[in-house]
């Protein structure tokens, strides 16, 4: 999967969980500040992403995923492993 494909798939999840238009979910956007994804919604996004991308995102790691780009990079790093 390319970076763009991961971003697009993640954007679909954010849209499904929080109703944010998928086009707004860009790499430089902050989940909480720009996209208004609250902490419980973020947990849902993480769980959906784990299933979709076949990765494990530990609870401790979630706080580091501030932007969409952070999440995409984490997924890219951990998918191949």
């Amino acid at each position: 999967m390319s970076t763009e494909e991961i971003r697009a798939a993640l954007a679909d999840i954010v849209n499904e969980v929080a109703g944010i238009p998928a086009d707004d979910v860009q790499l430089d956007k902050s989940f909480s500040d720009d996209l208004d994804v609250d902490s419980l919604s973020m947990v849902e996004v993480v769980v959906e992403a784990e299933e979709k991308f076949g990765v494990t995102i530990p609870d401790d790691e979630v706080k580091n995923l501030k932007t969409v780009g952070d999440a995409v990079a984490f997924i890219e790093r951990n998918r191949a492993a």
Partner: protein
């Protein structure tokens, strides 16, 4: 000091006959049944019929809002939003003319978010701990419907969840009226909701022999007061009523459907599931409601009976009406709208509250369908077609009885 009068200024519902009040009333007058085969959902169960809502709430509510709510809260929100808009308070609130601190909610459910609980257990068992939703608790908690309504409409007064099984919805009406009478709030939304059409509660109700096992045409199975009745049909949905102090309603020129005249609440202390066969606890509740309303039993013209189509309960209700109202009981226009909607459990008393208020407003009783051979032990005049109610000041009784021996009677009156 005279007592605060409480009036009904808004109505809302979603139920097996319709997704709003207008289609529901039309369904009532047409004598339509909302009961049908449930298909795949009920596969392998001893009972395969039910009365699901006519309009899926997920089609009405915003998608993201809906996915964060148990089905029972979805019903509650749909009904409450309709009632709120119907009362005109939505506009008044936006204009800053409703004090949220003096606005309460009493919204009941008999069982709570059982679909959420069970679907999350399925996820836990099949996919593991991680797949249990982080919002499962606020979705399934018993007060979720009341809290959902409070959040959406900005009600910051008391937000209550009375639970008394199948009497819950009627108890919510009583509690909301009390909050207004006590001067704690000026406005309250009262309601009840249930979404328990799921294999587990259906199997449980069937195993305790509460559900009808009639294999005939599903639309004929819910048959209150009929000799061939053999249990209830499980329905789902919600009803909501906007209650207001008379002063508050008149100050804003609100349309008043009816008045809440009085309420009575008792317990049988007889059996956890069976009603007292003589209906003594129910009779006391009705008597208390009449005393609370300070009217003569002769003023009561109409009864929306609890009558769920069980052999014992329907007869007990006839006995209690005779015990309290005496010879005049035979003059009452009695109906059981459960013949059409099935039994909404914690939503029943609220939907039937809506039906009772509409009956007074239109001076027309909805019919009881499927009454082919009235049980001779039921000595009541049951409306089998839409039946006119008398002119003048009249009252109508909404009865609800629940497992645990709960009895709630609410008396509404025409407003003048």
């Amino acid at each position: 000091m005279s007592r605060t009068r409480v009036v009904v200024t808004g109505l809302g519902t979603t139920n097996p006959l319709g997704g709003d009040v207008a289609s529901t009333w039309e369904g009532f007058l047409a004598g339509r049944s909302g009961v049908r085969q449930l298909g795949e959902l009920a596969e392998g169960l001893p009972v395969t019929i039910g009365a699901p809502v006519a309009v899926d709430p997920a089609e009405v509510l915003d998608r993201v809002v809906a996915r964060r709510l148990d089905r029972s809260s979805q019903f509650a929100l749909v009904a409450a939003l309709e009632a709120w808009a119907d009362s005109g308070l939505d506009v008044a609130m936006e204009a800053g003319n409703v004090d949220g601190d003096r606005f309460g909610v009493a919204f009941a459910s008999g069982i709570g978010g059982v679909n959420t609980l069970l679907s999350n257990y399925d996820a836990l068992r099949d996919k593991g701990v991680r797949r249990v939703s982080p919002i499962a608790v606020p979705m399934l908690m018993a007060n979720a419907p009341a809290a959902t309504v409070s959040l959406k409409l900005g009600a910051r007064g008391p937000v209550n969840t009375p639970v008394s099984a199948c009497a819950s919805g009627n108890e919510a009406i009583s509690l909301a009226a009390d909050q207004i009478r006590l001067g704690r709030v000026d406005v309250a939304i009262a309601g009840g909701t249930e979404a328990a059409i799921h294999p587990l509660p259906m199997a449980a109700f069937a195993n305790m022999m509460a559900l009808s096992k009639n294999q005939g045409d599903p639309t004929t199975v819910s048959r209150p007061f009929d000799l061939a009745r053999d249990g209830f049909v499980l329905g789902e949905g919600a009803g909501a009523l906007v209650l207001e102090s008379l002063e508050h309603a008149q100050a804003r020129g609100a349309r008043i459907y009816a008045e809440v005249l009085g309420t009575g609440i008792t317990a049988d202390a007889h059996d956890i599931a069976q009603p007292d066969p003589a209906g003594r606890g129910g009779a006391r509740a009705i008597r208390l409601a009449i005393q609370d309303a300070d009217i003569s039993p002769a003023n009561i013209a109409h009864v929306n009976a609890h009558a769920t189509s069980t052999p014992q309960g329907d007869v007990a209700e006839s006995l209690m009406l005779h015990a309290v109202i005496g010879a005049h009981a035979s003059d009452l226009v009695v109906t059981s709208t459960k013949s059409m909607t099935g039994h909404l459990l914690g939503g029943a008393g609220a939907l039937e509250g809506v039906a009772t208020v509409l009956a007074l407003h239109h001076r027309l009783s909805p019919p009881t369908i499927n009454l082919d051979n009235q049980d001779p032990k039921v000595e009541l005049d049951i409306a089998t077609k839409p039946t006119d109610l008398p002119l003048g000041d009249i009252a109508a009784l909404n009865n609800s009885f629940g497992f645990g021996g709960a009895n709630v009677a609410v008396l509404f009156g025409t407003f003048s």
